[in-house]
């Protein structure tokens, strides 16, 4: 074996540090198992850590995520690798697994960084901030976001000019441009896949104008605009900085639409749109918000009441199918739609449009396993061969699935799914020991 490859052993490998992976890791560790949590991003927390508030309770997302993330990162039995990728996982003859992974260089010594942000201030480069969905810039030396875990800097080497200003500014001398990728070969007994979901890219529906019309945004961009750590000082439309007062939501963008290859319901878009509409009414009391929907699916606990509450607040609901969106010279958007109840085509003008983009499968995990295939379902989520009895089982014995890696679901269901996956994994570990 290459002697540069580092080795270690854990009871469980959790792939993906979103709420599902984090919760799974905590449950396993609280039961005395040693866990390696591997996250490909610079921070754990997944999509949830970037949300504004959560339906239907309207609790602040950061207030729930921050203590959870800190519990995960401080747990003595959990080791977290961020900015890391699994290369392959092979099952050995004894039934245990060997995982090869690579920890990418962050170019910052994590233990020594105080998060003072002096490197950010010194860095001359500005590129679109991926954690603010491209609405604002960030530096090449940067802390991903204020509640990131770990809250330490990283160097975006692809956009770095190698000017050295960050290094000169750093009081602890923790920036280290000599860092190289580190390879690991890890022994584990069980694997939990919690790789989450991808968002539908509305560029794929050109008639909605996303990308061309700057006042058409995605729901994830609106989450950021509504969050306390938002990209703008207040809610403004990205086309020209106008404070919007007539907003529209287009539900089912990229969901229940076989023409874009995703015939299924994303299960969360109705509710997160109703949530955002309520938050907008709070932030912009004079605003008029209209939700264009095909059906409202308010199936969860408290969801129907949440929908009724939105109607009571004056949010308009139109059962309408959007044909096309065009832009007028004022930068306003004209929505041409079929009013489903009346059966006629109508037009209406709005000054900002939010596309409620759907959940797509993240298929990355399927390529990781060698010798035995990790089967995907019809819609390319991780297959659950025994969904009614043991929903976290996969096609490989000893490999379990948690959260949206298995299909669209909201946060409470992702946490429940993590509970199921961790108890199945604990049962498995107890059986094989």
């Amino acid at each position: 074996m290459n002697e540069n490859i580092k080795t270690a052993s854990y009871d469980a490998l959790v792939i993906g540090g979103g709420i599902a992976g984090g919760e799974t890791a905590l449950n396993l560790a609280n039961n005395g198992f040693k866990v390696l949590l591997v996250e490909k991003d610079l921070s754990i927390g997944g999509k949830m850590i970037l949300l504004s508030k959560v339906f239907p309770s309207l609790d602040c997302a950061a207030c729930i995520t921050t203590p959870k993330v800190s519990e995960i990162s401080r747990h003595p039995l959990i080791t977290i690798f961020t900015a890391s990728e699994i290369v392959r996982i092979i099952r050995g003859p004894n039934g245990a697994f060997k995982a090869n992974l690579v920890k990418k260089p962050r170019f910052v010594i994590v233990e020594d960084c105080t998060g003072c942000q002096l490197c950010e201030e010194a860095c001359p480069v500005s590129v679109p901030d991926q954690y603010q969905m491209g609405l604002v810039g960030r530096k090449a030396a940067y802390i991903p976001f204020s509640i990131a875990s770990p809250r330490v800097a990283a160097i975006d080497i692809e956009n770095c000019t190698l000017c050295g200003a960050c290094e000169r500014a750093c009081p602890t001398k923790c920036i280290d441009f000599t860092q190289e990728p580190v390879e690991y070969a890890i022994d584990i007994k069980t694997v939990i896949i919690a790789t989450g979901f991808n968002l539908f890219d509305p560029i794929k529906i050109p008639r909605y104008g996303y990308g061309r019309f700057k006042n058409v945004v995605t729901s994830m961009q609106m989450e950021r605009l509504l969050a306390p750590t938002r990209p703008f000082p207040t809610i403004l439309r990205p086309g020209d900085g106008k404070m919007p007062d007539k907003l529209a939501y287009v539900l089912c963008t990229g969901s229940r639409d076989a023409s874009v290859g995703n015939p299924i319901c994303s299960q969360i878009c109705c509710m997160y749109s109703i949530k955002q509409a309520q938050l907008l009414m709070g932030a912009l009391p004079m605003a008029d918000v209209t939700i264009y929907y095909i059906n409202i699916r308010s199936f969860g606990k408290g969801f129907e009441e949440f929908y009724e509450q939105a109607k009571g607040m004056g949010i308009n609901f139109i059962k309408g199918k959007i044909g096309e969106i065009s832009e007028n010279p004022k930068g306003n958007l004209v929505l041409r739609y079929e009013d489903i109840n009346e059966g006629i085509v109508k037009e209406s003008e709005h000054d900002m449009v939010v596309l409620s983009v759907g959940i797509l499968p993240n298929q990355e995990a399927s390529g990781l396993f060698q010798k035995k295939e990790l089967t995907l379902d019809l819609y390319k989520f991780v297959d659950q061969p025994d969904i009614l009895v043991s929903p976290s089982l996969t096609s490989i014995e000893g490999v379990f699935v948690a959260g949206t890696a298995a299909g669209p679901m909201d946060i409470p269901d992702s946490i429940l799914s993590a509970g199921a996956a961790s108890s199945e994994a604990i049962g498995y570990l107890n059986r094989i020991q």
């Binding site: 480069v125 500005s126 810039g137 530096k139 770095c160 001398k173 280290d176 000599t178 403004l236 106008k242």
Partner: protein, 94 residues
């Protein structure tokens, strides 16, 4: 690496191995120029996105993007709202 690494001065080691792409240099030049343009214009008076966009000959959405970045980096702050309650003006952060 054989030689002792000088902590706090490590960029020189990477400079020997890695070339910075011309696109990165171009983006930096563009940002520096727009940043100077916005800050010079705001030194004279408070301006709206529309006014700044005309002065800099930049599309409105780009002006907004750069201005919001300069707010984030601590150079600019939000000013007054116009009489129609539609657009803010922006000013230098003192």
């Amino acid at each position: 690496m054989d030689m002792e690494i000088e902590k706090g001065k490590t960029v020189k080691y990477l400079k020997e191995k890695r070339k910075v792409s011309p696109a990165v240099i171009e983006d930096l030049k563009k940002f520096t120029k727009i940043k100077k343009g916005i800050l010079d214009a705001l030194k004279e008076e408070d301006l709206t996105i529309d006014q700044l966009s005309q002065k800099l000959a930049l599309p409105h959405h780009e002006t907004l993007y750069y201005l919001m970045s300069l707010i984030k980096y601590g150079f600019v702050q939000i000013g007054k709202m116009d009489d129609m309650d539609e657009f803010f003006s922006y000013k230098i952060k003192k």
